[in-house]
Symmetry: C2
Subunit: 626 residues, 2 copies
């Protein structure tokens, strides 16, 4: 290793190639950082977290360090940790994870394919002049004739005479599925916006899109205000049933949540809410039922018939959604009382329906939703109650994936945690992806045992709180609120139940379809934290199955992206129909041994260790704690 010897390092990214001169003395990580290229990392270059991994495409490099050896097993033969490796010749590399800078990282986007927008809302320039009194026709009838329309919302009437009165020559006639819903004076008002909404049981995400370009122009998320009436679907249905007014409360809570999000996006991006003409809502069947004012009581009992499954079209003002009052709210079609429109949107967003082999879609949320595409091309779908823990709700220091949330955690062999906080702020709490990683690392470092019990009670990083042990991720002096941020024994139990529900549901579907884990060619991971979930950590926890990590594809918030896709293109209608037609619902409660499957899956990673032999093998080198 010669000092001062310099090599050319070429870094390939998705969009460009960057070249640097690097020496043999410093790690590639240090030299990237010095050149302003921020690579993801938690541990500060100690080889612990594995986040700064790169792929070596060409050239010769230093020998792998001990910590690298562990990670190469996990990351693959071409992987190195940039904080450990040095370039010894001219080289070409790819960086696995660039450091992201966004302030709010809740999973609100994803891998939406390029769509040629074909929205239901269009603007048509219409020549007005000269307007003359013609026998028996009013402004409305003249406009209908000039624009070649037959249908209109009567609320446009006052707009027409005003525009006629101003003597405009050319106006913009805005119609939805051929019905005139607005008339605008100037080209500057030709803006056509739409909103996609993912109504999660715990989290609601709204994106506002430009219907002409397909671009997302604003995006925000919030907890569903219905949470105050119950954390899960069942307790909300109970609440709705108790009093007629309660169903209004639930309805208003979700409508307020959506309106606040739209209002925030509109304000932040300097938009006009009157230019939003359509909202497409995706969510589980209960959420959509509450939105429409149904209490879901009838649907929650056998024969489990939901209030509706088709795509409803409701006038925005009828729901009280504050967009253009003449616009529409539409729902994505659902499949059953427990397999909702969010799954349909997930399938559409992921492309599962277009994938040729056996594949699985897992949407991780308060309701976990699993779809198995079988060898015969059928979709077997089910949902399971995972609870809100994976969305950061209901944990001692849980929070949404917004600024101040710890979204990634590793723990070194001394029990010290390294973490990344969204927005580079001081930490306030832990969001779902952070909790998954924290618990996985607690197991890897033997802080908890296979049953999830905290075993290292005497350690300085374990304290007692409210009669239960907790692991301290952030000491009081480092947090934003000068209090410890911890993972409690109860938190761990909640996450165990959540991950067990998801894994058991997947195993049950596979069993129904007589398919083994090994046959799965691809797993699409969707949900409120899909993009930030560390697959290795999720496998260590036993939430995701033990198959090659390159078979996992992140969909992001599939429910939202599917809604966006439907919003932007009326051409998707056929695909959606096909998806709905092909999907068969599996009721877990009716499947023998689901409960047994579930109980086994509460272990970390699983009571049946053979199911996770690769992960356990990869994990072994980490399982030391001094």
């Amino acid at each position: 290793m010669e000092k001062d010897k310099r090599h050319k390092l070429k870094i390939l990214t998705d969009s460009e190639a960057i070249e640097l001169w690097v020496d043999e003395e410093h790690t590639i990580y240090e030299q990237l950082l010095r050149n302003g290229i921020a690579v993801e990392n938690l541990c500060g270059g100690k080889g612990i977290c594995g986040k700064c991994s790169i792929r070596t495409l060409y050239g010769s490099f230093s020998q792998p360090t001990e910590s690298e050896e562990r990670w190469i097993k996990i990351l693959g033969r071409d992987a190195r940790l940039s904080c450990q490796v040095k370039a010894l010749s001219d080289s070409v590399i790819k960086i696995d994870r660039m450091q992201e800078k966004s302030e709010a990282k809740i999973l609100s986007w994803g891998v939406r394919k390029a769509i040629k927008p074909k929205p239901r809302v269009i603007v048509k320039e219409t020549k007005l002049s000269p307007v003359v009194a013609c026998g028996g026709k009013g402004c409305l009838e003249i406009l209908l004739e000039l624009s070649g329309s037959k249908n209109y919302d009567p609320q446009i009437i006052p707009l027409i005479s005003h525009i006629f009165s101003e003597g405009k020559n050319v106006i913009g006639v805005i119609s939805y599925d051929g019905e005139i819903i607005d008339i605008v004076r100037d080209k500057s008002q030709y803006e056509l916006l739409g909103a996609a909404v993912d109504i999660g049981t715990t989290t609601v995400v709204v994106s506002v899109c430009d219907l002409k370009t397909g671009r997302v122009v604003g995006l925000d998320s919030a907890y569903n205000q219905q949470i105050r009436f119950g954390e899960d679907v069942i307790s909300r249905v109970d609440y709705a049933r108790r009093d007629k007014r309660n169903i209004d409360e639930l309805k208003n809570a979700i409508i307020n949540t959506i309106n606040e999000l739209i209002s925030r996006i509109v304000d932040k991006n300097n938009l006009d809410s009157n230019s939003i003409y359509e909202v497409v809502c995706s969510g589980n069947t209960t959420m959509l039922s509450f939105l429409l004012g149904d209490d879901f009581y009838y649907s929650s009992r056998a024969p489990f018939i939901p209030p509706f499954t088709s795509s409803l079209k409701v006038r925005a003002r009828d729901l009280g959604i504050k967009i253009n009052p003449r616009g529409y709210v539409r729902t994505v079609p659902s499949i059953s009382a427990y397999v909702g429109s969010d799954i349909v949107a997930d399938i559409l967003a992921s492309g599962l329906h277009e994938f040729g082999g056996v594949a699985v879609l897992i949407d991780i949320g308060t309701n976990g939703e699993i779809v198995l595409k079988t060898r015969t091309g059928e979709f077997l779908a089910t949902s399971c109650a995972a609870g809100p823990a994976l969305e950061g709700y209901g944990l001692r220091h849980g929070m949404r994936a917004v600024k101040g949330a710890i979204e990634s955690v590793v723990i070194d062999e001394y029990g010290t945690s390294y973490y990344r906080v969204i927005g580079n702020a001081r930490p306030i709490g832990v969001c779902g992806s952070g909790v998954v990683e924290a618990i996985a690392w607690m197991w890897l470092r033997n802080i908890i045992d296979d049953t999830g019990r905290i075993v290292k009670k005497t350690d300085k990083l374990i304290s007692m709180s409210l009669d239960e042990p907790q692991y301290i991720i952030v000491p009081a002096e480092q947090s934003a609120h000068s209090q410890e941020i911890t993972i409690t024994q109860t938190d761990i139990r909640k996450v165990q139940l959540a991950k067990a529900a998801i894994f058991a549901a997947l195993m049950t579907l596979l069993r129904v379809a007589k398919t083994s884990i090994e046959e799965i060619e691809r797993i699409y991971v969707a949900g409120a934290f899909g993009n930030y979930l560390d697959i290795f950590a999720a496998q260590v926890l036993g939430m995701l199955p033990d198959i090659a990590r390159d078979k996992f594809v992140f969909v992001g918030n599939g429910s939202l992206i599917g809604a966006e896709t439907i919003l932007l293109s009326s051409d998707t209608e056929e695909q959606v129909k096909e998806i709905v037609g092909k999907t068969k619902v599996i009721e877990l409660n009716l499947i023998k041994d689901f409960q047994k499957e579930f109980i086994q899956a509460t272990h970390i990673p699983h009571q049946d260790k053979k199911l996770f032999r690769n992960v356990i093998f990869e994990a072994t080198p980490f399982k030391q704690y001094s």
Copy 2:
């Protein structure tokens, strides 16, 4: 004339024949009264008012008295006054006017022809059981399939699952033009009601009808709450233009008026407002524009294009009309900015479109509306600003035709008035028909001259008030409020302007169509007081033309009846289209000499006395005042 000699008197009514024994000593009026048959009369049997007239069909009678001679000229050769005539043989008579007992007499009904109801709203019994979960269908989709419907209001969704939940076997599915708008549990809820609304500039009348039988089940009227923003259409348009909020005020005022009337009818008749599924509104173009939130400003200027003319269909909840929120409000189609849907309704109600010869329709209201059916079958239509005086608004003691209103007046040769009060109450004020009769009799008794000026200023029945003379109809001690009820000089001026506008408009239409008064074969009189208007008095005043009184047909409130007809039968649609297509609008302002015509018509009965020679001849015997 033999005392105690008794004859058989047969009285024919529309529905039956009654036989009495009468003597030769007492008048027929006295003997009818003694037998409980109440004949209309104002003067108490003094031969002054002419209201107790009968037709002699058979038998011999006493010689006509002097006062009878005068009335026979007016009423026809077969007419006698029952308070004067005695039967001298067995006889057969018909009574012109039975005494009516209704409490509120505002013209809210009329001569609606029997209609076989064919409403747009229907209820269909649908068998539900057994409901089973069927692939992918929700309650909504199951209901649509069972009822064979495709369209529905999304607001029915919560109703469906509730009804499914109750396990009903048979339900009632209520649809409007094929769209499901309600679902009801029991046969008792199968009631289908609709409301017809006449939105007058001054008075609003609502009738609620049973859509299955066609029967009017309740009816009420009130002043249009918009009056506080201006008495006539033009001042309200000015008000609307001044501020955006003003148009909302006008809109809310009319909606509140309609809602209060519906609520009163519903309460009084023990109805359920949720069973009202449709409201059909008729009114002049400005009123309907305000209802839909248009300020009519553009339409009030050349080229006078109204906001709309077609029949609009608006969801009740969108307008805030408090019927079933899933029901609809529809407008009767209009013809132009100044020939509104009320005229279309009038024509439909009167049957003018089915009459074979030259005929005229006169709708007397704040806007007077005149239609001339020409020899070629075309309708020439126009409207004129008459002001609210004929609806009792804006006169010193004016009031609507409700309990306590003087609706009929005669004045004897000593200047004493005889009057009838609606509801047999103590008088509170004078309504439109009372004012017309009062002023006609003031002229007949030479209290006013041909120019309308009060000339008998020294008389005890004439007093001065606020620097102007007034005629005392009711002395303070006889009225309900212990104050005089009078007709002031200003009141007379207002009525003169109103009647001149109507007559001049009629004359102008005749001139345009090159038709003389003599050619008119029938005159349909519609409007807020149509049924109670004394034709003779209206002719004396010069409001209605001087043609044989048997050519007049009372339509009643044509605007309301037309709306009822459209409400009850979807079959009328074709007739309405034909009426709209055949109607040509005449703009009075564009017709030469209309102003001249108007000024001449302000005289009583007219400056051109030849136009009223019959009436003047008949009137001469009354023109004495001592």
